[in-house]
Assembly symmetry: C2
Homo-oligomer: 213 residues x 2
């Protein structure tokens, strides 16, 4: 039952992008940041539900498959679920359509209570006002002996890292410089102590960096 | 005649360290940042003039050998030469002893004129008040058809990168988080455009990242 974080960051350490516009609500930078991940066969089949079998099958795909394997519960911030963008809209059900790719209980950290959402495919969104430790205890109890992922955003992931709650951090570093956004590594001086740190370069040029303990 | 930058940085992008004390003027972080480089056979023989043949011989050593190969002139900031630490001491001759490891003309950027220093082994330090472009023209003229390295510090290297003057940037990324210092990547959004970016992981866990054009 490991507690895991998996994120995509730029060479300069940004886990978020800043070039969103009303006409391009994701922005071009986000596409560049996740390009290698989105190109994998696993992402295409698991998130896009593309049954063609197309997509890359190298190192990036191995990490994409590991991303989805063995996760029994997920924790995410209100921003990642979309509550900041959607405001208090009670009809908001997340970014992922009727069948989100989580297929497990998802705990969304928010100070504003909302009723739980049962989605197709086994995903349940539960909205909790909780500290990282409290949220983790809830998620561990719900994970059925499998791993818990702290999905993000970057600020939430960093809170769990700073609190010493994360057993495995995997970042996919895209070979681009974004220059602005939220830095994953802020205030994490010395994080490597107590972890084994390994790196691997994918065919795409993405570097997969893993802290594990 | 390529213009090159080679630097050691942390995972969070810091090219300088901040834990220097009067009792430990280099600081412990610097030793951690350059640990894999200092362990190479090339560094030991070339900088420490250790004739034992000891030191690592893998990927890190290949980059260390490339660091010293084909450089015909070097440019560095006043801080890297030590003028900030030494103040105006006219007897200051740099950090590297009587026979510095450069073995070529070195242009030190400073607004305060100083006489040139002829050192043993072919290193000459010349002190210039010059823009990056002017300094580069001087160095190219002195390099005898070989490469020019912009040695540092990080702020000087970034000025040359921002001015579009660098043909090859190599950074050795140590798997540590320093949390503070001077960030190499600041204000370099989009630098990857116009370069080919490659990465390679050494046995030490250091990731060697190269921008080339």
């Amino acid at each position: 039952m490991a507690v895991r974080v998996d994120l995509n960051i730029s060479l300069d350490g940004f886990a978020t992008t800043t070039d969103q516009t009303p006409d391009d609500p994701m922005g071009r930078d986000w596409a560049r940041l996740v390009e290698a991940y989105v190109a994998t066969r696993t992402f295409r089949s698991r998130v896009l539900r593309d049954a063609s079998g197309e997509g890359t099958t190298g190192v990036d795909d191995r990490y994409a498959a590991a991303y989805f394997a063995e996760v029994g519960a997920e924790i995410m911030g209100a921003g990642m679920f979309g509550l900041h963008a959607a405001g208090d809209d009670p009809a908001w059900r997340g970014w992922w359509g009727d069948e989100p790719p989580f297929h497990c209980p998802v705990f969304v950290l928010t100070h504003r209570p909302r009723p739980a959402l049962e989605m197709a495919g086994g995903t349940t969104f539960r909205f909790q006002s909780a500290t990282p430790r409290e949220a983790l205890d809830l998620a561990l109890a719900a994970a059925g002996g499998r791993d818990v992922r702290v999905g993000g955003g970057a600020t939430v992931a960093r809170e769990f890292l700073r609190a010493g709650l994360v057993d495995r951090l995997h970042v996919a570093i895209a070979p681009i410089l974004l220059g602005r956004g939220i830095r994953l590594w802020d205030d994490l001086r010395g994080l490597e102590q107590g972890y084994r740190v390994t790196s691997e370069v994918a065919e795409s040029g993405t570097t997969h960096l893993t802290f594990s303990r």
